[in-house]
């Protein structure tokens, strides 16, 4: 399973932004601190991220793998461990080779096998006993076990099986949350929405049963919902991001509750700075400036997230102040950081393009005519580059203007005149369509319809005999 995961990583993670090659570089212009980055994560996410970093950025592959190997020694996933070590050794020089700790491997393998047998026997016993609750717990424990060992597919299978034995909505909720974690780890974005929906309906069924039993439990249930709501929102947001629906993702991210309510997900799955970055990039790419002001800058909850990653604040401030040069520069600077993030990497180029297009359109709006040179300076782009970006925007209609190639300037078009022209044109077209419709109505009214093929030509009004029709020509 992990092998598949790695290959998915490889395919997904060839970020091809127009400015970078497929291999990400870490240097002075693109700072990236591996230690601090990875310290916010633990568990299997950390391993996955480290692996991703190793594959995309050879410069820090070795330290990344080293950290990964260390962490794995404390887990019980032997396959991952062996894999990473081999990978590391293939990159390392002879002096740095870490030998595979076969003793640990063996021990862990034995322990794993023993536990697996125990759990499986338990499951068999409970199944024969037909006690629903115990079967459910046995499946759940097996699922947990497989997660630890790193076999996510089997884990998922068990969790889905335990769904059948869930009795209360609380169980369903638990199960959904766990499955969501798995799906996010696997980056299986399309199924996330199904499970979010299931969890939602499980939450909804709870209050109704609450009112029927005792009114006192109602507040507790809604607290339950609050707790879980943030996780569900985050899952939705990630799935939207993963499927490229940036606007939906932006709104979901901005709706998130406080960091605390993420509880154990924070760190196990995602960190606060991640959320800040995703949210900012998505909103810059899809929301208008007033929307950003209202939803991002004045959002108290979101302020907490922004604290986690200060450059995000810089980015937002520059954008709102129309300092697009700064915006593009920051994006460029942190491109490494973005490319090395497992969720963001496949989308970073698309998001950059969207942000840049928006910036260009915004910049041009107040002008009737502007020299390309000046515009290029504002963005830090050369004239040919700028022209290259502008032409598709004009063609798609986002910028309503035309390029004056001789003077190297852009002129806006007179909207009013265009409107007149369009109105007259539409009027003519409608008249023509109406005329044709009138004719058609008249034809049908007079029953001048071409009938079945055996009367080769049209049908005579006066009679329906085919032979008569044949007389006509």
């Amino acid at each position: 399973m992990n092998v598949d995961l790695i290959s998915d990583n490889n395919e997904g993670k060839q970020p091809e932004t127009h400015k970078k090659s497929t291999v990400v570089v870490v240097d002075e212009d693109h700072p990236f601190d591996l230690e601090s980055y990875i310290s916010s994560y633990s568990g299997s996410t950390a391993i996955a991220r480290l692996q991703h970093i190793a594959t995309t950025c050879p410069a820090i592959a070795k330290p990344a793998l080293r950290i990964g190997i260390q962490q794995l020694l404390e887990s019980r996933d032997t396959h991952q461990y062996t894999h990473l070590t081999t990978l590391y050794n293939s990159l390392a020089t002879s002096s740095e080779i870490i030998p595979i700790n076969s003793k640990w491997v063996q021990e862990t393998a034995q322990r794993n096998a023993k536990e697996k047998n125990k759990l499986e026997t338990e499951l068999k016993t409970y199944s024969s006993n037909m006690i629903k609750e115990s079967i459910r717990m046995a499946h759940r424990d097996l699922g947990d076990y497989y997660r630890l060992v790193g076999e996510n597919a089997t884990a998922l299978k068990h969790y889905t099986k335990c769904r059948e034995y869930c009795t209360t909505s609380q169980h369903i909720l638990e199960m959904c949350i766990i499955v969501l974690e798995l799906l996010i780890e696997q980056k299986n974005y399309s199924h996330i929405s199904t499970y979010v929906f299931k969890a939602d309906s499980a939450l909804d069924t709870q209050p109704s049963s609450a009112t029927s039993t005792a009114p006192g439990t109602a507040p507790k249930k809604s607290a339950e919902r609050d707790r879980v709501q943030t996780k569900l929102d985050l899952a939705t947001a990630l799935s939207s991001l993963g499927t490229g629906q940036y606007e939906k993702a932006a709104s979901s991210f901005l709706r998130l509750g406080s960091l605390k309510s993420l509880e154990d997900w924070n760190g196990k799955l995602i960190s606060g700075s991640d959320i800040a970055i995703y949210a900012t990039l998505c909103s810059l790419a899809t929301l208008s400036r007033s929307a950003i002001k209202a939803q991002v800058l004045e959002n108290d909850n979101f302020g907490v997230y922004i604290e986690q990653e200060p450059y995000v604040r810089e980015l937002l401030d520059a954008y709102m102040a129309s300092k697009f040069h700064t915006v593009l520069a920051i994006l460029q600077r942190y491109s490494t950081r973005h490319a090395l993030d497992i969720h963001l990497a496949p989308h970073i180029s698309a998001l950059t393009v969207l942000i840049r297009n928006r910036a260009l359109v915004l910049y041009f709006q107040p002008f009737q005519s502007i020299r390309l040179e000046k515009m290029g300076q504002a963005f830090g782009l050369s004239i040919p580059e700028l022209e290259g970006y502008l032409v598709p925007l004009i063609q798609s209609g986002d910028i309503k203007g035309r390029i004056d190639s001789k003077n190297k300037a852009t002129k806006s078009q007179d909207q009013r005149a265009q409107l007149y022209q369009k109105a007259v044109q539409t009027g003519n077209e409608i008249q023509s369509t109406n005329r044709k419709l009138l004719l058609r109505m008249a034809l049908i009214h007079a029953d001048l319809v071409v009938k079945a093929p055996k009367e080769k030509k049209g049908n005579n009004l006066a009679s329906e005999h085919p032979s008569v029709a044949a007389l006509y020509d």
Partner: protein, 514 residues
């Protein structure tokens, strides 16, 4: 078949008993007395009113008469109707001031007889041409019947051009509209005659007069329209048809013209062919679209499929891209089109010229359809479309840059710009250094947004609106429509009642629960 012998009538050969005595007369006295043919002495007494319908029982004598001189020795039958003779007909027409409807009925009855047409197509005894006697204005119907009979028979006495033209220029439309089938017959006969004598252009002028004068308004469709346009096309003079083609058809009145569905299809197809010859692409596109969207039950006519093929090509020529057909087009047509090679070869226009890289079979198919000229024109215009696209993005470019983007030579581009400016398809100026400036839309719209232009547009829209309103009113009078509307309303009421009932009962139930 009629064998009645009548008591010998008076010498007068007025058989055809018009209700009023013959003395009333008309300036030209028909020549009954001179004709020895009077044998058809039917009800001698002119008093027997001859209702047109009754004459149907009349039969002409068994021996077909080629010349009225030999007309029947058989006396007319006893039901007081007569044998028909051309003389009688002429006399009736010229001396009686009958109502046109009566005349029509009478003439139709004559024509419906076996040799009725032949009689109508013959000369009077003595070799006179009945057309010389009749007046095209006052005796429109008679003239029409005779003329139409004459042109439809090969061995009828020949006509002079003057006779035909005189009629077409002067006939009385109101009278003529009482006999639409004769008009059709006349038109068909004229074009047939012209073709047979290898001088197809002879038919063009008379048909043009007919088509212009016969319909009550220029937007009525008649059977004359397709015949006329076809004659123009055959004669190689499509421009003659242009004034007629410029009037869009919106009205169909079957009482003034015996139309068939095919007439509509054929008119618009032939019209489109003329317009294509004259290079009026947009109007041709409209005609072809109407041809293609003519209502059909299930199977499209072959001519409609041909029209669809041409339509695609013409849309590329006129607009640079194909447009989807209106919603009411029959789906069978779309299917037939997809099966033809045209959908494939035109898909990537204007990036790829049509037929480039197409198989030999496709090329041959296009050639067989006669559409190679259209394909060539469309391909020539590819540069033009690329240029037009540029105007959307650039306000000003050098010739060199344009040539590069359009992938053509500079000189070619310069010429193309000149031509497009002349045609009004482009608004641009080239200065000495070879820079092309595309004028802003402002120049064009200045003309458009002038007060007069806006008013004109508004007026047109108003006229159309009124037309639609009238149509709506007529439709609401239609019995079928009213029946359906009432039925729907009744059913609706039923449902509402049910809902009310349920809601009421639910309310009760809840009360009981507490």
């Amino acid at each position: 078949m009629e064998a009645n012998t009548q008591p010998p009538a008076a010498g007068s050969s007025l058989d055809v008993s018009p209700p009023t005595p013959p003395e009333s007369s008309a300036p030209q006295s028909p020549v009954p007395s001179t004709s020895t043919t009077a044998p058809a002495a039917a009800a001698a007494a002119p008093t027997t009113p001859l209702s047109p319908q009754a004459t149907q029982t009349q039969q002409t004598p068994a021996t077909p008469i080629t010349t009225p001189t030999t007309v029947p020795s058989n006396p007319p039958n006893g039901s007081s109707k007569d044998t028909i003779s051309l003389n009688n007909i002429i006399t009736y027409l010229t001396t009686e001031n009958a109502e046109p409807t009566n005349i029509v009925g009478y003439l139709r009855s004559v024509a419906s007889k076996d040799v009725g047409e032949t009689i109508l197509a013959s000369l009077l005894a003595g070799g006179q041409d009945p057309l010389d006697i009749l007046n095209p204005v006052q005796n429109t119907l008679g003239y029409l019947f005779i003329l139409s009979a004459r042109v439809s028979f090969n061995d009828a006495p020949p006509l002079q051009t003057a006779q035909i033209e005189q009629f077409c220029i002067n006939f009385d439309e109101v009278q003529a509209r009482l006999a639409p089938e004769r008009i059709t017959m006349l038109a068909k006969g004229l074009s047939r005659l012209a073709e047979a004598s290898n001088a197809p252009q002879l038919a063009v002028l008379p048909l043009r007069y007919l088509t212009t004068r016969y319909p009550p308004t220029p937007s009525h469709l008649t059977t004359l329209h397709p015949i006329f346009v076809r004659a123009c096309n055959i004669a190689g003079r499509p421009i003659q048809a242009l004034p007629i083609l410029n009037n869009p058809i919106i009205a169909i009145d079957t009482s003034i013209s015996d139309l068939t569905a095919f007439d509509n299809v054929q008119y618009h197809y032939e019209g489109a062919l003329s317009l294509l010859d004259l290079e009026k692409w947009e109007l041709a596109e409209e005609f072809l679209e109407i041809c293609v969207t003519s209502p059909i039950h299930s199977t499209p006519l072959p001519v409609q499929v041909e029209a669809l093929k041409k339509l695609t090509l013409v849309q590329l020529i006129a607009y640079g891209k194909t447009r989807s057909l209106p919603k009411y087009t029959h789906p069978n047509l779309g299917r037939a089109f997809k099966n033809s090679p045209y959908s494939g070869i035109t898909k990537s226009y204007p990036q790829v010229p049509i037929l480039e890289g197409a198989s030999d079979k496709d090329v041959k198919a296009v050639q067989a359809d006669g559409n190679l000229d259209l394909v060539r024109e469309a391909n020539v215009r590819i540069t033009r479309w690329k240029l037009k696209e540029l105007t959307g993005t650039y306000a000003c470019l050098t010739l060199g840059e344009v040539a590069e983007m359009v992938k053509a030579e500079q000189e070619v581009v310069r010429e193309l710009v000149h031509r497009m400016v002349e045609e009004g398809a482009l608004d641009a100026a080239i200065d000495e250094q070879g820079t092309i400036t595309f004028a802003d839309e402002l120049a064009k719209s200045a003309a458009l947004s002038s007060k007069e232009a806006v008013q004109k547009v508004l007026k047109d829209a108003e006229v159309q609106g009124q037309l639609l309103e009238q149509l709506d009113k007529e439709l609401s009078r239609n019995k079928d429509f009213l029946m359906k509307a009432l039925k729907g309303r009744d059913e609706g009421l039923g449902v509402e009642d049910m809902e009310l009932y349920n809601a009421g009962s639910k309310g009760q139930w809840d009360d009981n629960a507490f």
